[in-house]
Amino acid sequence: MNHEEPFTNRNVSESSTYYYVDIETYPVSGWDKFKQVFRRAIRGELFVGLWVVMREMIKFDIHTLQYPLEKLPIGPRYRAVHKLLRLWESGYERCIGCGLCEKICISDCIRMDTRIDENSRKEVTEYSINLGRCIFCGYCAEVCPELAIVHGGRYENASEQRAHFVIKDDMLTPLDLLKAGEQAEYPGFGAIIPGSDASVKKTPLAY
């Protein structure tokens, strides 16, 4: 079935209520200009503004953020430099090396290397993101089946080169922080939707 948008007249001027602002005429001659400047200066408007500054100075209630010593808190769903998370209980890396992030990445900036480890499990030996190419679209976090790669809040990406990388060691939650319970779950792209437990279907098991 074809979807047809109903025609709407977007000609705003017909029903508009535009009116002319009453603007005094600009001074033309030199004398008139001088008179305008003199009149405005004498009226003391300048001191109205200066008083506001004085008043706030005396109150010592300053809102300026002392960047880079201080930083604004950003939203939890903000998409900045990636993080690799660990499993809460075991401390193992969540990443299983499936390569979906590498595949989905539209700026082709993720590269990973995997191998089989001593326990016949897939191990990610190397993981890098070229931040110079990354557009922080969040697809990697969205596609990740293990909630392993997420976006963090670190947004400073100034670099002397176009290509600069974050590697696995930079992104992975350090074990001490994990033990201290400081690994935060990411509520942004790819995170579990609240209440999704209810939609899980049980697999019949013969135990």
Binding site: G99, D113, S120
Partner: protein, 751 residues
Amino acid sequence: MINFIINNQPVTAQKGETILQAARKAGFYIPTMCYLEKTTPCASCRLCVVETDKTEGLILSCQTPPTEGLVVTLDSDRLKQERTNIMRLYDVNHPLECGVCDKSGACDLQNKTLEFGVDRQHFSAKDQPRHIEHWGLINYDPSLCILCEKCVHVCNEIIGDDAIELQFGGYKSSVIPKNSDKLDCTFCGECIAVCPVGALVSSQFQYSANAWELSKIPATCVHCSAGCSLTYEVRHTSNLIGAKSKIYRVTNDFEHMTLCGAGRFGFDFDVEGTKEESSFAQAVHALQNAKAIRFNSLITNEEAMILQGLKETLGVKLYNEEARAYQNFMSAYSSISGKIGFGGSLDAVCQSDGIIVLGGRITTDNPVVRYSVTTAARHNGAKVVYMHPMEDELLQNVVTQFVKYEVGTEEGVVAMLAKTLLEGCDLSEETQAFFDGLDEGYLCAESNVGDEEYAHITKSFIRVKRKTLVIGSDVITHKRSSNIARLCAMIETYTEFSVVVIPVNVNTIGVSLICELDMDNGGEDVVGYNAAGDYTMGSIGDVNLTLPSLNSQEGTFVSINHHVLPTNVAVAYEGYTLNDLASSLGVKADNTIDYTAKLPLSKGFNGVGFDNLGNFYSALGEDNRGYILENMDVKAEGVLEEIDDLPEFNGTVVYHCNPINQFNSYTARTSQLEKEAILRGSAQFAAAAKIADGDKIRLEFPHSTQERIFKLDSTLKGTIALVPAYDVGFGALNEQYRFEKVKIMRMGSAS
């Protein structure tokens, strides 16, 4: 021709075709999980069920031939329900590890599960304890296995190893090594190739890359003369080592062809090169002053053309004793047959029902010949006569008659065989007189092959319709090879036999057709291209100038089937090529492959350019790789010579024979293939040579010495030991007669 109906459309099937084959040819889709075109139907998946008007129940289309007028339905609701249920059963407790599984993205189970929309588990079964098995180059995970039996069928029917079997136990079933705890086979890896899921995987490749990341480069295997089609799967390496391109694995079109272990696991023989002008100038200088270029047959046709061009321009000689032996053999052969090449092919071997293999250890010389013989034996019940001084344990299952002859007596054996096979044929008087005049008593006594053995061949070949004679490389280098060649040509010309002569290297035939070779007298000022010389270049050994190896080159080879096969660059090469050298010496071309179209028409090449050559099998198995050489006519004016006195080889004799999956210096430096460079002999040999298992020994040949470890091999018999050749010098096999008398010195025990 059988006419029947599929989905209301008329379809014709050839006699012997099944419903499935006819339907696929006509473009109908029938899903299968266990079907393999090249084996007999496994009939284990039951996904190919169809409805007919003549049967009550559903029938398996993979093993049922149609009857005249049969009405077949492929897609009723009942069939859909049946197939969906089968897929549901396949998915019961299948580990949800697609995320890490190597097969993910190229998995039959994944595809069919999606196709039938199985999105949850409907049935339950108590899971069994299953352990991942590590079988050397192969890993087996029974919990991923869907028991389709493809691996078992291919191992038994095509390869002939018969190394694995299904352990039946209902839900506990799994694939196990046959009669052994550990997998004991030739490691062809064909089971990995045919596995529709990730149950059988290459242990070295496992978990190192995903199927979708690898770029696939169609190429031709360079290890033996079979010239198998293979696909190099290439990806970048890790960032840490510069993200270069690297071959991760080799795959093959397993539905239509079979690859051996050397092709599948021996792929990492590429070399790196740089463009250094000083060494290039040195190489040009060396070639300018050279009297001869010595090379081996591990080169493309195009490079052979370049070398021939250099010969014509610079007046150098071309040395390649291995190809020259083949050239001489075939020219003697042509002088009787009147054709430039032999008439047989491996396809002919596959389809024959009577095969005689003479003078070569085919299991190691050319595994595809072995697979063809196995296929013929298993599928056509072919009679296989194996004639050789040494029995081959790997051929035990297929050989119906083993004829053992004495070392060196090939001429007498072939003469007697020719006499036997040519009996009753319409021969010229002269030829008839030759055969009548054979001193049978002497020949039989010296070769130790009795009359009754020839009589047995005759008897067992009475009902055989499609006959093939496979000539191994022992006779090519035999002192009397020309006369043997004429005798073999007699057999092909006057009987129904088609003959296949096994060349040693991938392009022995190409070189022998393109290059005018000179007798190698040694001498000075020899430039060696992948061969010994005063100045050496190439990709083998410690050379003065590195040139690309064969997986970094594009070009063509001529295989044992007289098939001109293209190969492509898997790993880019940065340095100079032979074409660069030749171009600065006056043999000019922009690219090496410019020569493809210029390959000599007089030898049967057809002048097609490289970029117009296909390199694939169609879905129905039609071979679209390159083209077949035309078998040109030549003058047939050869005459048989009198049989010479048969030589005697007494004392300790060794047979130059590479171990399984080893062929040349390329395979010798790959990381996965086993490199057991030992002298293997029987207890009888050990007694004769006065050595014991594990002894360190020195072998003194007339022109060289080798130090090796001796290993007792209980599968061998007799007084001949096997000595590998792939790791000696430039991996030269077959420059001389492969049996050699040798002095053996014991140097102490290995430990």
